[in-house]
Subunit: 194 residues, 2 copies
């Protein structure tokens, strides 16, 4: 068995949060503790964390955890894969019933900058590039600078604007292609930028 | 533009190496410095590193960098995406001419343990699950323990055995499906395991 993915219309994200400091454990556990995860199913092991639920809550929680860690000012990276529509896993299916109000919507005044590379993979289709071009117009996403990267598209901006652009892209593509995955790596406070 | 991928038969990997310690920059730069990357094209920015070349050299270099960082004993994670067969990017195409001998083959006595989650995405096909089942038999991969994970398959073992199993899987699937991507997250020396 190589892939176990989410059931129809339950979305999920498998991600790992990396904090480049000696006190990484406290920062990571603190971030996980500060975010309200009551509308998602969640499981953490030594490699990564998986959350599952409605698309908006999966993005809300993943962004919330990243923001909590990044606000320490330490160099913080997160990599992960959002996925929807792949059969085989029913963990947390009941969370699809959660109400749509987000529990961790970021404040409008958050100015935390980041750089992010992401790639969309519409599965089980032979016209995946057409789907991407038809569904997504990143030039309409407020606040982010878009540039090409190897095997990915790069977004620069504030963390909320970056996550908003990714959520919008993922949501549009999964309306056209039932099984869609999206990989991302987001980095903030890198000494390379100072 | 959402994806820019490798040209036919040049493979590549976009990855980020995270070292959970205050001296992360020295560890990462030291690891990049210790590995012989002369058979791959390489580019690093503040978010991630991209290497491109023959499949065996891409895996050789990515594994070499990870091993160098992990042998410090610090908690080290790497996430990335291997990719082959997606049109649009010709960076480093000439490296496909490199001879097949690996420059960073690990010593047989390396016992560095790790945990890894990976997922294969054969693109542009409507029978991707069949391809995966037909091409891969992880039970034949020496040294690794295989278990299901959410949105992924988990491998536990030594770093060389884990990379060998991933390279074998990626190589077999890309023989059947021209455009194939494979995501992975590998973690070593996590305090969760002590």
């Amino acid at each position: 068995m190589v892939q176990e993915c989410g059931t129809e219309r339950i979305a999920g994200c498998q991600f790992n949060l990396s904090v480049m400091s000696d006190d990484f454990a406290e920062v990571i556990l603190g971030a996980l503790d500060q975010v309200d995860t009551s509308k998602v199913w969640k499981e953490t092991d030594d490699v990564s964390t998986c959350v599952r639920g409605r698309i908006e809550h999966v993005f809300d929680v993943v962004q919330g955890i990243y923001l909590e860690a990044a606000k320490t000012g330490k160099h913080v990276e997160m990599s992960g894969t959002f996925s929807i529509g792949c059969p085989g896993d029913s963990s947390g299916d009941a969370y699809v019933e959660a109400s749509p109000e987000r529990l961790n919507a970021p404040s409008k005044d958050i100015q935390q900058k980041a750089g992010c590379k992401f790639a969309l993979y519409p599965m089980n289709t032979t016209n995946y590039m057409d789907v991407i071009y038809e569904q997504i117009d990143l030039s309409k996403e407020a606040g982010v600078t878009v540039s090409p990267a190897h095997y990915a598209t790069r977004l620069d901006g504030t963390v909320p604007d970056i996550f908003s652009a990714m959520e919008s892209s993922f949501t549009k593509v999964q309306e056209a292609v039932s099984h869609t995955t999206m990989t991302f790596t987001i980095s903030a406070n890198s000494p390379s930028n100072s």
